[in-house]
């Protein structure tokens, strides 16, 4: 199918290397669940996958898409243009035909889509999704089940592993009772067996992923499991999209590990409950999306001042205010780094993909414990909801079992030593000196006594900031993809990782000397980064936020301030959609033009 691009060379028997399938319908039609199953199928094979979806923010539904990019080699993005469009309605057809590549295939419900446009060599195949499904199920279930019918159709079209796919259906629907499962299987079989001479057949080249231990998941799930693997047993939060599924997972899973996750009355309480458990000796988590992070800001300042460890997850969405609650944006970076009052240094990290959600959480937990300060993980709606396939984490290697340290603290114990890192003594620990420590948000001396002494405030401010200075010196520099120096460096953070790398390759195909890099440690930035950036003539910081009054996005603003490097430019957008590779390529092109 994909015949253009480096990754799409056909193998000898003309097998596919990758295919992008876009399902367009209404959210209540279950296209997410079909897309999810296709995504999960990849997890059971050596194939790669990346999904992308848009969801309406209203419960009753509305137009929605789910896009699946399946590939035999590395899949870095969800696909700019689709090879196959599945249109459930006229509006789906009208709005998404443009996303189909020239000569692509449009499968449409011939009972719902009335007008088709003959253009760009697009191959139209009308299939009566609705009546074929009704026939298969027995007439009662009406529109329900046509998603599974379509899944069967796709399965036969692409010669996907039928046995594994039906296994996934069984797992998903088996719990809902025999009738439901039987209907699903009937719908699937009907789609699989549907005869139309028009329907092309394709076959994927064997997947290249080396490890057979592959799983597929979305980012929120991996963040939630990462928290448990990093020894977090307590936490609290208030529901908000797209954060909620993490708290639902923790509420469900933590009791197995002896922990408790509290649904708090609001975000102010949530961060306080988590801080309470952290103070009590158990590193804890709270999380939210942008509006909730704002509500936690005062307590974050406290945690910096009192030097309490805390993990804060922020799954970013379109803002400000209620904004675009189900769309993607990266506009909380400055809030994450600076959002509070006073000087309140904390650590900010961002995962680069779904797999990284797991590992970055372990790293965050280690940093929080070590530096006794809040660590914010900035995820975003795209990473949170999309499905990717990757190797199952090795838990023998990546596991931190929590410990409650109630050992007696010696005579020299000071909660806030100026010559070392703070390591609080949780309640219950005995003090050899018989003086018991206070944890406080008032400026304090080394012993935790409130102190307004000017010299002391300066020293304590230095102490809190220098933790980050120490950390910066220890952080690895980000890897550079392609040339170590040159004309163009594309720099991304968070969910732009895949599109940025793919854009780098496209620029090189055009003859430009381009490299790419990705920043996971956003605050503090690794020291030495300025020197690294200086090796390139133009640095394009790609981010999904506004370029602001001065023309630079949020990370670009910080990088410019930190480096005084006038070669740093911004590629910004705020349309609520994930970056397409072509948008980045075009952005660079038009800058250089």
């Amino acid at each position: 199918m994909s015949s253009a691009g480096a990754s799409a060379e056909a193998t000898q028997d003309d097998a596919l290397r990758n295919a992008v399938i876009r399902l367009a319908g209404n959210s209540q039609d279950g296209i997410q669940s079909v897309g999810g199953m296709l995504g999960r199928l990849a997890g059971r094979t050596a194939q790669e996958v990346m999904t992308y979806m848009t969801i309406p923010s209203t419960i009753s539904g509305g137009p929605s898409i789910f896009q699946v990019h399946l590939g035999s080699g590395e899949v870095l993005h969800a696909g700019d243009v689709a090879d196959v469009l599945v249109a459930f309605y006229q509006h789906s057809y009208d709005n998404h035909l443009d996303s189909l590549k020239d000569g692509g295939i449009c499968l449409y419900d011939s009972e719902k889509v009335e007008e088709t446009r003959d253009e760009r060599g697009i191959h139209h195949i009308g299939v009566p999704f609705t009546s074929a499904t009704v026939e298969a199920i027995g007439g009662t279930a009406k529109d329900r089940g046509k998603n599974i019918f379509v899944l069967g159709l796709i399965c036969s079209m692409f010669n996907l592993d039928r046995e594994k796919l039906t296994g996934i259906i069984e797992r998903q629907f088996g719990r809902k009772g025999e009738d439901v499962l039987r209907n699903c299987m009937n719908a699937f079989d009907a789609g699989y067996a549907f005869q139309t001479t028009d329907l092309k057949q394709f076959r994927f080249a064997p997947g290249e992923a080396a490890n057979s231990n592959r799983i597929s998941s979305d980012g929120n799930t991996m963040l939630g499991l990462g928290l448990i693997a990093s020894g977090v047993r307590y936490g609290a939060a208030y529901p908000i999209t797209p954060w909620s599924s993490i708290m639902e997972l923790l509420r469900r899973e933590l009791p197995k590990y002896g922990g408790v996750f509290v649904q708090a009355e609001d975000e102010l309480a949530a961060v306080a409950i988590a801080l309470g458990a952290s103070y009590a000796g158990h590193l804890s988590v709270t999380g939210s999306s942008g509006p909730g992070l704002s509500l936690k800001a005062e307590a974050l300042g406290y945690a910096c001042m009192a030097e309490l460890p805390l993990l804060v997850i922020n799954v970013q969405r379109g803002g400000p205010s209620t904004g675009l609650p189900t769309s993607v944006e990266q506009s909380d970076l400055l809030q994450a780094i600076y959002g509070s009052h006073g000087d309140s240094p904390r650590i900010v990290l961002a995962p680069k993909d779904v797999e990284d959600c797991f590992y970055i959480t372990l790293e965050a937990a280690q940093l929080a414990r070590r530096y006794s300060c809040p660590v914010i993980i900035l995820s975003d709606q795209a990473i949170a909801t999309r499905i990717e396939a990757f190797n199952e984490p090795n838990l023998d290697e990546h596991w931190i079992e929590p410990e409650l340290d109630l050992s007696e603290r010696g005579e020299d114990f000071r909660p806030y030593p100026l010559d070392g890192l703070t390591r609080h003594a949780p309640p219950g620990s005995r003090m050899a000196e018989n003086t018991y420590p206070k944890v406080t948000g008032l400026e304090h001396d080394e012993k935790g006594h409130p102190s307004g002494n000017p010299e002391n405030h300066q020293k304590m401010t230095d102490k809190r900031r220098n933790k980050l200075v120490t950390l910066a010196a220890e952080l690895p520099l980000p890897e550079i993809y392609r040339e170590e120096d040159g004309e163009i460096l594309l720099l991304g953070w968070g969910s732009t990782y895949g599109p940025v790398r793919e854009a780098c390759d496209r620029l090189r195909e055009k003859g430009l000397c381009a490299s790419a890099t990705h920043i996971r440690h956003l605050h503090p930035l690794p020291s030495g980064l300025n020197e690294l950036l200086a090796r390139f003539e133009h640095i394009f910081v790609v981010e999904m936020n506004d370029s602001g009054v001065y023309g630079y996005g949020q990370l670009a603003t910080i990088l410019r301030a930190a480096s005084c490097n006038s070669g740093i430019h911004s590629l910004c957008k705020t349309d609520g959609l994930a970056y397409r590779v072509s948008e980045i390529v075009d952005g660079v092109d038009s800058f250089l033009a």
Binding site: A272, I273, A425, P427, G428
Partner: protein
């Protein structure tokens, strides 16, 4: 509250051992007496410094933890209860004491009070109600009576004050008491009962701000011509919320004593039951194997 320390072999703490920094309160501030009474109760119950923790928000009264030589945490304005919730749920071995004022508890932290109470979090909360904002120097508080002049109500307060007892009764707290800082013996008794209660226990103590609202509670001080009128527990059914509401509606200064006490499982117990239940089914698996089950479902 927690039942793990009954067998402590250690000796009871002396007052001297319990005292920390000298209180920064104004002379004769009612909070001194609350502190003294708290020491009495700790001594009487034989608690030691590894058994309990003091938590507070912001306000004069919220300075409390600095003056007790125990583990303590001074948090932000209004959020002491959720912080204490996190301690209580994660550390069942600890007695958690929360201290604060009327502004901290009924204004900025009002919603937290409702939720910590309805969840019946295992802790003891002592509210030093002085009908004024002390620390910020004499603004109207949510309990300031109508007509009382303050810096924010130069013509006298016009907003109807909340009735703390009504509020607490409505919140779902399972132990609700009321006392007065000039009656130390009474405080001792009520505090002790509060500490021994399982679940969310709360005591409102009328504690005079001698600096900004002197004489506010004289009407309950016999030597100043007032009457200290106790709840008659022979007549009063402690488990009747209706009777408690009647007591709460008496004209100021009203009655003192325990208004309401009932048994309801605490969130601490309910969460632990869930944990025990789940673990009885998965108990043989190592934590890593538990998570491998999640991964298996993603294959």
């Amino acid at each position: 509250m927690s039942d793990t320390q009954s067998a402590q072999p250690e000796e009871k703490l002396t007052k001297k051992q319990l005292k920390a920094d000298h209180p920064t309160w104004c002379p004769a501030c009612g909070d001194f007496a609350v502190l003294a009474s708290f020491f009495n109760v700790i001594q009487k119950l034989g608690l030691t410094q590894t058994d309990f923790v003091c938590v507070a928000g912001i306000g004069c009264s919220s300075r409390f933890p600095y003056f007790v030589n125990s583990h303590g945490i001074h948090f932000i304005h209004g959020r002491a209860l959720p912080l204490a919730t996190g301690i209580s749920l994660s550390r069942p071995d600890q007695h958690v004491f929360v201290f604060g004022g009327d502004g901290d508890g009924f204004s900025i932290g009002g919603n937290h009070l409702n939720h910590a109470a309805r969840k019946n979090i295992n802790l003891t909360y002592i509210i030093m109600d002085n009908f004024v904002y002390g620390l910020t120097k004499n603004q109207t508080s949510p309990t300031t009576p109508i007509g009382r002049r303050s810096k924010t109500d130069p013509n006298g307060a016009i907003d109807r004050p909340i009735n703390p007892m009504m509020q607490l009764l409505g919140s779902g707290a399972t132990f609700i008491g009321r006392s007065h800082a000039t009656h130390v013996k009474h405080m001792n008794e009520i505090f002790e009962r509060a500490v021994n209660h399982k679940g969310f226990s709360v005591v409102e103590v009328l504690s005079e701000c001698t600096m900004f609202y002197p004489g506010a509670f004289d009407s309950a001080i016999p030597r100043k011509g007032g009457e200290f009128d106790l709840v008659d527990e022979e007549q009063h059914d402690l488990t009747s919320i209706n009777e408690a509401f009647k007591l709460a509606q008496l004209e100021f200064p009203g009655k003192f004593g325990v208004f309401y006490q009932d048994e309801r499982p605490s969130k601490n117990e309910l969460e632990q039951n869930w944990i025990n239940d789940v673990q009885s089914r998965t108990g043989d698996l190592s934590p890593q194997d538990l998570m491998r089950q999640n991964f298996a479902a993603m294959q």
